[in-house]
C-alpha cells in the first residue's frame, strides 16, 4: 500500500461526481435506491456508472437484469457491463456478481480478500467519461467501508446518500453509519427514507408497515438534509423481475413508474448543492 500517494485513482480521472449509497442496516433498499437514482439519471441524459461493492451479497446484477453477463478484460482493465446507451445518456455496471460462474455459489471471504477486491474495483475498471459514479455498499461499518473510504481518500467524492427505513431498529444502525462518515470525513448529502408507507391497491388506504417519519426525524436530530420519502411500490419490484419480457430498456420503462418523479426530486436536491465537478477542464 502506498500511503504517501495522494493522487486520485487514475481510473476515476474522467468521473465528474462520485456518490456512495450507505446504510448501517441491511435490507433497507440501498441497492434499490442506487438502481433508481441510476435509472433516473441515465434517463435524463447523464452518463452513469454503478459499482457494487457488496461482495458476499451482490444484488445489482439482478436489479438491472444483467445476471449471467460477464465483464471483459482489456489491456486497460475490466470493461463494465453496459446497460443503456442513447443520446448523451449511458449506464454501465460493475459487480462481483459478473465474475462468478454460478449465481448460487457463495463467496466466503474474510476481510483481506474483500479489501483486495475493492482496491481492484477502484483501480482497474475502465469507466471512461462519467457524469456520476454510484457506489452501492453492503450494510455495516467494516472491511468494505474502511477500504472504500481509504481508496477514495484522495479521490474527492461528493459524499454519501444515507438510506434508512422508518423504524427505530433501522435508524439506530443508521446513526452508526453516520458516525462512520463523520470519522472518515465523508460528506453526507442527505437521508432517504425508504419503505415509508404502503398504499393498499384495493382501498388506497396508506399503511405505515415499518412506521413512518424515522428518516425525517433522524435528519432533524442530526442536522442532515432530508432528501425524501420513498413509499413501498410493489410495481417497481415487479418491473425489476419482469424487465426482460417487457421489450424495451429498463431506463425507458422506469420513466412511467410512480416512483420516477420521487427520484427526480431526490436528484434535484442533490444537484442543487452545486458540488463542483471532480474533472477540471
Amino acid at each position: 500500500m502506498n500511503v504517501d500517494n495522494k493522487d486520485p485513482p487514475t481510473a476515476l480521472r474522467d468521473v465528474k461526481h462520485i456518490l456512495l449509497i450507505l446504510s448501517g442496516k441491511g435490507g433497507v433498499g440501498k441497492s434499490s435506491v442506487t438502481t433508481q437514482v441510476a435509472l433516473a439519471l441515465a434517463g435524463s441524459g447523464y452518463k452513469v456508472g454503478v459499482l457494487d461493492i457488496d461482495l458476499t451479497g451482490p444484488s445489482i446484477p439482478r436489479m438491472f437484469g444483467l445476471e449471467r453477463q460477464s465483464v471483459y478484460q482489456s489491456r486497460e482493465g475490466w470493461i463494465p457491463v453496459s446497460k443503456y446507451e442513447e443520446g448523451s445518456g449511458a449506464l454501465k455496471v460493475m459487480s462481483l456478481g459478473f465474475l462468478l460462474n454460478d449465481r448460487g455459489s457463495s463467496v466466503v471471504w474474510r476481510g483481506p480478500k474483500k479489501t483486495a477486491m475493492i482496491k481492484q474495483f477502484i483501480k482497474d475498471v475502465v469507466w471512461g467519461e462519467l457524469d456520476y459514479l454510484l457506489i452501492d455498499t453492503p450494510p455495516g461499518t467494516s472491511d468494505e467501508h474502511i477500504s472504500i473510504a481509504e481508496e477514495l481518500r484522495w479521490a474527492n467524492p461528493d459524499g454519501s446518500i444515507i438510506v434508512t427505513t422508518p423504524q427505530n431498529v433501522a435508524t439506530a444502525d443508521v446513526k452508526k453509519e453516520i458516525n462512520f462518515c463523520r470519522k472518515v470525513n465523508l460528506d453526507i448529502l442527505g437521508i432517504v427514507e425508504n419503505m415509508s408507507g404502503f398504499v393498499c391497491p384495493f382501498c388506497a388506504e396508506c399503511t405505515n408497515i415499518f412506521s413512518k417519519g424515522g428518516g425525517q426525524k433522524l435528519s432533524e436530530e442530526l442536522g442532515i438534509d432530508f432528501l425524501g420519502n420513498v413509499p413501498i411500490d410493489p410495481t417497481f419490484v415487479e418491473l425489476i423481475e419482469k424487465q426482460k419480457t417487457e421489450g424495451s430498456n429498463l431506463v425507458d420503462l422506469y420513466q412511467s413508474q410512480a416512483l420516477f418523479p420521487v427520484f427526480q426530486n431526490i436528484i434535484a436536491s442533490i444537484q442543487s448543492k452545486n458540488i463542483p465537478s471532480r474533472v477540471r477542464k
Binding site: 458476499t56 449465481r103 474502511i146 408497515i209 415499518f210
Partner: protein, 324 residues
C-alpha cells in the same frame, strides 16, 4: 466492573499495514510463511505470534459444554428479519419457565437484538468467572456488543480480525452457565463472522441453522449463497422460514404481496435445495412496532396470524433438534 468496548480487546499485535490479498491470516498456522508474506511489512509481527492449533478452542468447548442446543439464525440478505426472528424465538422459548435460553448477537456493526428484547440500557459486568450476560428474564441471558458501547450510536469501525477476537470472547469468556438453547443471531453475508463462529464452535457442535428469507428473488438470491455456505462449512440447515410474506390491509382486509414471490418464494427454494420449509410468516406492522419497543409481539397479540405462524415455526425448529 463494567466491560467497555474500548478495553475489551487487548491489542495483542498491531499490523503495520492492511493484510495483503493472499494473506494466510496473522493468526493462522502459516502466518508469516505464505507466498504473500514475502515483502509484507507485517511478516515479522506475524511470525512472532503463537502458532499451532488455536489453544482457545478447548476453552470455548469447555465454556459451552453445558449448552444443550446451539442454533444459528442465518440469512445472506440483510433486513429480512434475522434479529426479529431471534427475538421471537427467545420470547417463545423462555415463556416455558423450565427452559434456560441464551441469545448471542454476532452483528457487531449493527446490533439490533438488545433493542428488540428491550434491554438497551444494560451493561455487561465482569467478574472472576468471566463476563456475566445481561438477563432479560430469569431464564433469558443475552450478549451483544451494544452493551459495551460508550454511546448508543457509537460506530464500531472494525475490520474482520477485530470482530473475530470479540466473537471468541463471547464464546470463551461469557458465563453462559447451563442452557437448553443458545440462539446466535448473525449479520448478513458470508464473511468473517460466519467463518469464525463455525470455526470456534465446531468442536462443541452446532445443531444447525435456521435460515430466514423474504419472498422476492433479490433476497432468495443471497439466501441461496448462505445455504451454499452452510454446505461448504458443514452446518446443517434445520429449515427455512419465509418472513414478510403477504400483507393484509388493516382497512379492507385485502391481501397484497409486497415482496412478490416471482420465482416461487421460500417454499420453492426449499423444494429445489431439498431443505425443510418451516412456514411463512405474514407481514404485520405490529411486529415491527413491538420490536421497536422491545416487547414480545407473541404476548401482545397472541391470536394474530403472525403469532400463530411464528409459534408453528418454533415448534418445527424444536422438533428438528430432537427436543419435545
Amino acid at each position: 466492573m463494567t466491560a467497555e468496548v474500548s478495553h475489551i480487546l487487548p491489542p495483542d499485535y498491531h499490523l503495520k499495514e492492511a493484510e495483503p490479498e493472499h494473506c494466510p491470516g496473522p493468526e493462522s498456522e502459516a502466518a508469516g510463511q505464505g507466498d504473500a508474506c514475502n515483502g509484507c511489512a507485517n511478516k515479522e509481527i506475524c511470525e512472532s505470534l503463537p502458532k499451532g492449533p488455536d489453544p482457545d478452542i478447548p476453552l470455548i468447548t469447555e465454556n459451552l459444554a453445558q449448552i444443550e442446543h446451539k442454533i444459528l439464525v442465518l440469512s445472506g440478505k440483510g433486513g429480512v428479519g434475522k434479529s426479529t426472528f431471534t427475538s421471537m424465538l427467545c420470547w417463545a422459548l423462555s415463556s416455558d419457565e423450565d427452559l434456560q435460553i441464551g441469545a448471542m448477537d454476532l452483528d457487531i456493526c449493527g446490533p439490533s437484538l438488545p433493542r428488540m428484547l428491550g434491554c438497551t440500557k444494560e451493561s455487561v459486568h465482569e467478574s472472576n468467572t468471566g463476563w456475566s450476560p445481561v438477563y432479560v428474564a430469569d431464564n433469558l441471558a443475552t450478549m451483544s456488543i451494544q452493551y459495551m458501547l460508550p454511546e448508543d450510536d457509537s460506530a464500531i469501525i472494525w475490520r474482520g480480525s477485530k470482530k473475530n477476537a470479540l466473537i471468541k470472547k463471547f464464546l470463551k469468556d461469557v458465563d453462559w452457565d447451563a442452557l437448553d438453547y443458545l440462539i446466535v443471531d448473525t449479520p448478513p453475508g458470508t464473511s468473517d463472522e460466519h467463518i469464525s463462529i463455525n470455526k470456534f464452535m465446531n468442536e462443541s457442535g452446532i445443531d444447525g441453522a435456521l435460515v430466514v428469507t423474504t419472498p422476492q428473488e433479490v433476497a432468495l438470491l443471497d439466501v441461496r449463497k448462505e445455504i451454499d455456505f452452510c454446505r461448504k462449512a458443514g452446518i446443517k440447515v434445520l429449515g427455512l422460514v419465509e418472513n414478510m410474506s403477504g400483507f393484509v390491509c388493516p382497512n379492507c382486509k385485502g391481501q397484497s404481496q409486497i415482496f412478490k414471490p416471482t420465482t416461487g418464494g421460500g417454499e420453492r427454494l426449499c423444494e429445489e435445495l431439498k431443505i425443510p420449509f418451516f412456514g411463512s410468516v405474514p407481514l404485520d406492522p405490529r411486529v415491527g412496532k413491538s420490536c421497536d419497543e422491545g416487547r414480545s409481539f407473541l404476548d401482545e397479540h397472541p391470536d394474530s396470524p403472525a403469532s400463530l405462524a411464528i409459534l408453528n415455526v418454533v415448534e418445527r425448529l424444536r422438533d428438528s433438534v430432537g427436543d419435545i
